[in-house]
């Protein structure tokens, strides 16, 4: 980075209280956009350049304390694929973009229908009939334009998935059938990257994290998976996709920042009807 860019960043920096009330040098979104435009950098590059000179993009100030500077840098440098942009995927995209995951690959061949509106964050009246991935691109641009999104408006399948995952370091399972989820597990295994799984039905939801070779979803759904799960009867109301998406986002952030997952080989099962949580072991040993 040139000294000129560093000076431009530093002269726009202003102190704000961070964790424990200790001042942190920050730069506003508008200040960053000015520096990026003047230096011919992308917003993401400008954010990385700011972190290099210990000026934190202000939008990440409340990440600090949970994430550190190095963690924030790792997020900005990372690419995560989100497969499925419905109830789970929309909320996952939102969480990852706000956290500052620098590159997202979103995959979904579906378009919004009115029955999506009860729960899908990206679904609006204006989006009805339009591809879900287009709504994802627009939402990320509105929330955090530093995040670079590659959108694939196609149905995930065994043939296309390994290539679609692109440079992703982690992939998020936000699909809606057992069979597709097993296909995604195979693709993630082929690419050698962790898969963060979430699924919902009615008041309940589950999440687990699969490292390459674990094949945890095969344990969960069987080698010959059923056509659908309990959601066929219980539906998919608003609270559970939001809840399970949050668990998936947390697992991704920990994987990317080197903390490691909390749910490898473990099924976290959350029941909002009874207000209970279960941790169950999915490894056969």
């Amino acid at each position: 980075m040139s000294g000129l860019i560093a000076r431009e960043l530093e002269c726009r920096a202003h102190p704000l209280p961070g964790p424990g009330g200790v001042d942190v040098r920050t730069i506003s979104p508008a200040g960053l956009a000015e520096v990026a435009a003047a230096a011919g950098l992308s917003l993401r590059q400008a954010e990385l350049a700011a972190i290099d000179v210990h000026v934190l993009p202000e939008r990440y100030l409340r990440n600090l304390g949970t994430l550190d500077w190095e963690g924030q840098r790792r997020l900005l440098e990372a690419c995560v694929a989100v497969v499925g942009c419905g109830g789970l995927g929309g909320a996952v995209v939102e969480g990852l973009a706000r956290s500052g995951v620098g590159r997202l690959v979103v995959v979904d061949g579906d378009a919004f229908a009115p029955h999506n509106l009860n729960r899908q964050l990206l679904g609006t009246l204006a989006a009805l009939g339009r591809p879900k991935v287009e709504a994802a691109v627009e939402r990320v641009a509105a929330v955090n334009p530093a995040v670079e999104v590659t959108a694939h408006a196609v149905w995930a399948a065994a043939e296309n998935l390994p290539a679609l995952l692109g440079p992703a370091a982690v992939v998020v399972d936000a699909l809606d059938t057992p069979r597709d989820r097993l296909v995604l597990q195979a693709a993630a295994k082929q690419r050698g990257i962790p898969l963060v799984h979430g699924a919902i039905a009615g008041w309940v939801g589950q999440a687990t994290t699969i490292l390459p070779g674990d094949d945890t979803l095969t344990v969960l759904y069987g080698a010959a998976p059923p056509e659908h799960g309990a959601e066929f009867w219980a539906g998919t109301p608003a609270p559970t996709p939001m809840l399970i998406a949050a668990v998936e986002v947390a697992e991704v952030l920990k994987l990317l920042t080197g903390r490691g997952p909390a749910l490898r080989g473990v099924l976290l099962y959350l029941d909002l009807e009874s207000g209970t949580a279960e941790r169950l072991t999915l490894s056969k040993a």
């Binding site: 699909l175 039905a201 309940v204 344990v219 799960g229 009874s274």
Partner: protein, 80 residues
């Protein structure tokens, strides 16, 4: 006979109406019973049970149950 603790989740709960949402119920089974025997005895269709956990660890439906075992039964959950 042996005593085990049974917990049903999500849509499987409809096979034991009136069971409290939290906690399980104690079930008496003949010695040597498997998870499948438990399902048959409770009138729960085996195809609806996707995953069985014994003492919180995933186990095959053919797993023999021991006195005091806790059995958690789940349907497939796959919505998004």
């Amino acid at each position: 006979m042996i005593e085990i603790e049974l917990r049903l989740y999500a849509t499987l709960r409809r096979y034991r109406p009136g069971t409290p949402l939290e906690g399980g119920e104690v079930v008496l089974l003949p010695e040597g019973s498997t998870v499948l025997d438990l399902l048959a005895g409770m009138g729960i269709p085996a195809p609806e049970v996707q995953t069985a956990f014994v003492n919180r660890k995933v186990r095959a439906m053919e797993q023999r149950l021991q006195p005091g075992d806790r059995v958690d039964l789940f349907p497939a959950i796959a919505g998004g």
